[in-house]
Amino acid sequence: MYLQLKELGKRYPNITAVDNLHLEVNQGELLSILGPSGCGKTTTLRMVGGFIAPDNGKVILEGNDISSVPANLRPTATVFQSYALFPHMNVIQNICYGLKFKRLGKKERLVQGEHMLELVGLKQYKNKSIQQLSGGEQQRVALARALVMNPKVLLLDEPLSNLDAKLRLKMRKEIRDLQTELGITTLYVTHDQEEALSISDRIAVMNNGRIEQVGTPNTVYNSPASRFVAEFIGRINFIGGEKQALLAVRPEQIQMSDVSGSTPGTITQKQFTGAYTTYLVRVSDGIVEVDVPSPEDKGWKLDDVVFLSFSGENTLVV
C-alpha cells in the first residue's frame, strides 16, 4: 500500500484524541475519514501532514517512515478548513508560493501556477486579491495551491463545510473529477456522510479516536460492522431486540402496502422530500421510517393504517 498509518495515537490532558489507529491507503484512491465532531479525524489528518507529532505510532509513505519529517518537508499538501489563503497576496501569488521552496525559477513557477489556475477554472482571477473572491472561488484557489505542489498525498480537511448546500454539491463533484484526473492519493476528512458516500473509493468511519470500519461506500452502507456505523451512515431502523434478534433495516428496504404485510402500523408523520416521501409509521415497538419513491406513492395520509414488510436478505444484522 502507498500510505500506511500504523498504531497512531495522540493524547491530550483530558482526552484521547486518536487511539491506536491503523489505516492503509492505496495509491490514487480517495479515502474519506468520516465521523462526528470530535472523533479525532482532523487530528489524524494533521499527524499525516506533520503539524501534530503523534505520541506513538508511525506514518509510512511508499515504505519510508516519515513520522519525524517536519511539515515543510513532507510531500503532502493540505487544504485547510479555513482555506488558509494568505490575505496580503493575490490569487496567483498564493498559488505559486510553495513553488519557491522547490527551487524553481520565477518563470517556471508562473507557468505551473497558471496551468493549475486554468485547471480549477479561475484563469481570469489571476491577479485578484483574495478578499474579492467568493467562498467557492477561495476554495478552488486553496485546492490549486495544494495541487500545484504535485504532492504524493493530498489532505483535505472538511473543505466544503463553509459553503452553502448547492455549492457543496457542485464543488464535491469538481474535487472528485480533479482528483481522478490527476490520480493523486487523497485523504478526505468530513462529517457529512452523504458527501463521503458520493465521492469516495473507500470510507474509514471513525468514532472516539478509533476506526470502526473501512470499506467501499457500498460495503459501509449495506454491511455496517457496528451499530455506530449503521446509525451514522444513512438512516436506519432498529426493530425487535427484546424477544427476537435485533434487525437493522434501511428505510428504503421496507415495502409499505394498504393490503398485506407482516407488520401493521399507523402513519404518524409524512415528510415529502421530492424524489421520495419519508413516512413515520408507528408499529408495536416504536416508530419506523419508511422511504417510498414518489412514482410508487399511493398517497397515504396521516392516521392511515398500513402494512410493512421487509424481506430477509435486505435486512442488516448488526
Binding site: 515543510n72 493540505t78 485547510f80 478548513q81 488558509a84 490575505p87 521552496f101
Partner: protein, 573 residues
C-alpha cells in the same frame, strides 16, 4: 532526525535542500535565544542591579538609605506622592470630560479634537515647562503682559498644572477606547427605563468605563512619578524623587542613594499595577473591541459643559505649541518680541550634531524595537517555548518602571565589569528600545490573537521554513502593530529625557539634553527652536512612515490601528 535518514528524505532533498531549511530553522532558533537573552540582560539584570545596589554597597548589606529617606527626607516622598496624586486625579477627570465629548457630542469638531490629542502625544519633555515659563513666568505673556502681575511662577502648583495638562491627553485616549467598546444598547436601556442623560452618564456610562479610568489613572500616576523634566525646570525649591535622583547621580554621584530613590519610585507603580490587574481583569464588561461612538442624546447644559472644557483644553494645548513657535522667532522673549531669525542662525554645530544624533538613535531604536517586539509577540503567542510566560512578563516590565529608575538601573548595571557599556551609544539606543518594548510587544500580540493559525500551517505545508513563515505570512499581517511600535519608540526616543539624561556623556548629547541645557541657562529662544525642530521632525517621520506602511493595504486602517493601539496600551492583561 539527522541520523539514519530514510531514503524518502533523500528523495525530498532533490526538491528542497534539507540542509538549507534546517540551517534556516537553526538561525531562527538562534534568534529566539538571542532575543530572550537580551530581554534578560537589558530588562531583568538592571532591575536586579538597582534593587541590590540600594541595600548592598561598600561591602555592607544595609537598609540605611531607605531609613534615611523615610526619616530625614520624608518631605521628598510626600512631595512626590502629593504631586502625582493631584495631577492624576485632575488629569483623569479632564480626560474623562474630553473622552465623553468625543463619544457623545455628535460630529461637532470630533476629528479636530482627536487629531490634537494625537499631536500632543508628540510633545518633547520640556514643552509644557517651557511654555509655562513663557506664559506664566515673571515676564510671561499672561501673567506679566496681560494681567500685570510679576509673580514667582516656580513651585508645586505649576508642576501639578502642567503635568495635569500633559497627562490628560493620554487619559482621554485610553478612556475613549473603553467608552467606544461599551455596548451602546445599555445606555439606550437606561433611557428607556426613564433615566435622564446625566443619570445615565453617572450611573451607567462612567461606571462601565471604570477599567479605562483606572488604567488612565495608573498610567498618569506612573508618568507623574517619572516626570523629571517639569519639576526640574519649574519646580523651583520644590523637589520630588525624580529630580533628587538626578542630582544624586549626576551631581553627587551617590549611587546607593539614587538607587534607593529609584526603587521607591517603582513601588507605587507596581502597587497600582497589582490593583489594576485585580480590578480590570475581573471586570466582565471590559472589552477591547473597536466600537463606535454613542448615540445617546445629552441634555443641552451637559453638552455645553463638555464642549467648554474640551475646547478650553484643546485651545490651551494649541496655545502651548503656538507659544513655542513664537518663541523661536521672538528676539528676546519677555523683553523684545520683534521678529528675528537670530536664534535659528545661532544654532551651533553642537546643537545640529545633537539633533542628528537624536534622529539617528530614534530611527535605529524604532526599527529594531518594533521588530524585536513583533518577534517576542510571536514567540509568546504562537511558539509558546518553555518559560514563555516569564518572557511575556519581563517584556511588559518596563512599562511599570519610571524612566529615571531605568536610567539609573542601567548606570548601575553597566558601569562595572563584566559589561561596561555606560558612555556608549549602544547603551543609549538599547535603553530606548527596551523601555518601549511593552507597547511594541502588546501591539503584536493584539493582532496575533486574531490571526487564524491555519494560515501559518498553510505556509509550512507548502514548504516554508521558520524564517520564511515569519517573513512571508506573519510580518505582513503585523503591519499595523509594527507601525504602532515604530511610532511609539521613535517618538519617545526623540522626546525623552528621563532615562537618557543618565546615559549620555558630554560631547555626545542628544537634542533633548541640549534643550535642557538651553533652558537652564535662560536661553528661551534657542530652546524654543530646538523644541520646534523636534516636534516637526517627529511629526514628519511618523506621518511618512504611516503613509508608506498603510498605503498598499486597502482595509479600514484607522479603525484597526486605533483598536490595536488601545489594545497595546491597555494590553497589560
Amino acid at each position: 532526525m539527522n541520523s539514519g535518514r530514510p531514503s524518502m528524505v533523500n528523495k525530498i532533498k532533490q526538491e528542497v535542500s534539507f540542509k538549507d531549511t534546517s540551517f534556516s530553522d537553526f538561525i531562527a532558533g538562534l534568534i529566539y535565544v538571542l532575543i530572550a537573552a537580551s530581554v534578560l540582560l537589558f530588562i531583568l539584570w538592571p532591575t536586579i542591579a538597582i534593587l541590590v545596589k540600594s541595600v548592598y554597597y561598600n561591602g555592607n548589606f544595609t537598609f540605611g538609605q531607605y531609613i534615611q529617606l523615610f526619616t530625614e527626607n520624608r518631605q521628598l516622598l510626600l512631595n512626590s506622592i502629593l504631586v502625582a496624586a493631584s495631577s492624576t486625579v485632575l488629569a483623569v477627570i479632564l480626560g474623562l470630560f474630553v473622552a465623553l465629548f468625543i463619544t457623545h457630542s455628535g460630529n461637532r469638531g470630533k476629528k479636530t479634537v482627536f487629531a490634537v490629542l494625537l499631536l500632543t502625544m508628540i510633545s518633547p519633555p520640556f514643552v509644557s515647562a517651557l511654555s509655562y515659563i513663557m506664559l506664566f513666568g515673571r515676564r510671561g505673556i499672561i501673567t506679566y503682559y496681560l494681567l500685570g502681575l510679576s509673580i514667582n511662577p516656580y513651585g508645586w502648583h505649576g508642576v501639578v498644572l502642567m503635568q495635569t495638562l500633559s497627562h490628560a491627553s493620554l487619559a482621554a485616549l485610553i478612556i475613549l477606547g473603553v467608552l467606544r467598546g461599551i455596548d451602546k444598547s445599555l445606555e439606550q436601556a437606561s433611557r428607556d427605563l426613564g433615566a435622564g442623560s446625566l443619570s445615565t452618564l453617572l450611573k451607567i456610562t462612567i461606571p462601565l468605563a471604570k477599567p479605562g479610568i483606572i488604567a488612565a489613572a495608573l498610567i498618569s500616576f506612573i508618568q507623574s512619578l517619572a516626570d523629571f523634566g517639569t519639576p526640574i525646570i519649574i519646580g523651583g525649591n520644590f523637589t520630588v524623587l525624580a529630580t533628587e535622583a538626578y542630582l544624586n547621580v549626576i551631581g553627587l554621584y551617590n549611587l546607593p542613594r539614587a538607587a534607593a530613590m529609584g526603587t521607591l519610585l517603582m513601588i507605587p507603580a507596581l502597587l497600582m499595577f497589582v490593583i489594576y490587574r485585580r480590578v480590570v481583569e475581573n471586570s466582565e464588561y471590559f472589552s477591547l473591541r473597536v466600537g463606535s461612538d454613542s448615540s445617546l442624546v445629552l441634555s443641552r447644559w451637559i453638552n455645553h459643559v463638555l464642549a467648554l472644557v474640551t475646547w478650553a483644553f484643546i485651545l490651551f494645548q494649541l496655545l502651548q505649541y503656538a507659544t513655542i513657535l513664537w518663541g523661536a522667532f521672538a528676539k528676546t522673549w519677555g523683553v523684545d518680541f520683534t521678529f528675528s531669525m537670530k536664534h535659528i542662525q545661532a544654532l551651533g554645530m553642537g546643537q545640529l550634531l545633537a539633533f542628528a544624533r537624536s534622529l539617528e538613535y530614534a530611527l535605529i531604536a524604532a526599527l529594531a524595537g518594533s521588530l524585536i517586539g513583533m518577534i517576542i509577540a510571536y514567540m509568546v503567542e504562537r511558539k509558546k517555548f518553555p518559560g514563555y510566560r516569564i518572557l511575556d512578563f519581563l517584556a511588559t516590565l518596563p512599562y511599570m518602571i519610571p524612566g529615571p529608575f531605568l536610567g539609573i538601573a542601567y548606570v548601575l548595571a553597566f558601569h562595572d565589569k563584566p559589561l561596561i557599556l555606560t558612555g556608549t551609544v549602544f547603551i543609549v539606543i538599547v535603553n530606548c528600545i527596551y523601555r518601549q518594548l511593552p507597547i511594541s510587544t502588546k501591539a503584536g500580540t493584539a493582532i496575533l490573537t486574531q490571526l487564524n493559525p491555519e494560515t501559518e500551517y498553510g505556509a509550512r505545508d507548502l514548504g516554508a521554513d521558520e524564517i520564511s513563515t515569519f517573513k512571508d505570512v506573519i510580518l505582513p499581517s503585523l503591519k499595523p502593530a509594527f507601525l504602532i511600535g515604530f511610532i511609539n519608540t521613535f517618538t519617545t526616543t526623540m522626546t525623552t529625557i528621563g532615562a537618557i539624561i543618565f546615559l549620555v556623556v558630554p560631547g555626545s548629547e542628544v537634542a533633548t539634553v541640549q534643550m535642557f541645557n538651553a533652558i537652564k541657562t535662560g536661553q528661551i529662544g534657542v530652546s524654543a527652536v530646538i523644541a520646534n525642530m523636534i516636534i516637526i521632525v517627529t511629526l514628519a517621520v511618523n506621518l511618512a512612515f504611516s503613509y508608506f506602511i498603510l498605503r498598499p493595504q486597502r482595509y479600514k486602517d484607522s479603525e484597526k490601528m486605533e483598536g490595536t493601539y488601545v489594545s497595546a496600551i491597555e494590553g497589560i492583561r
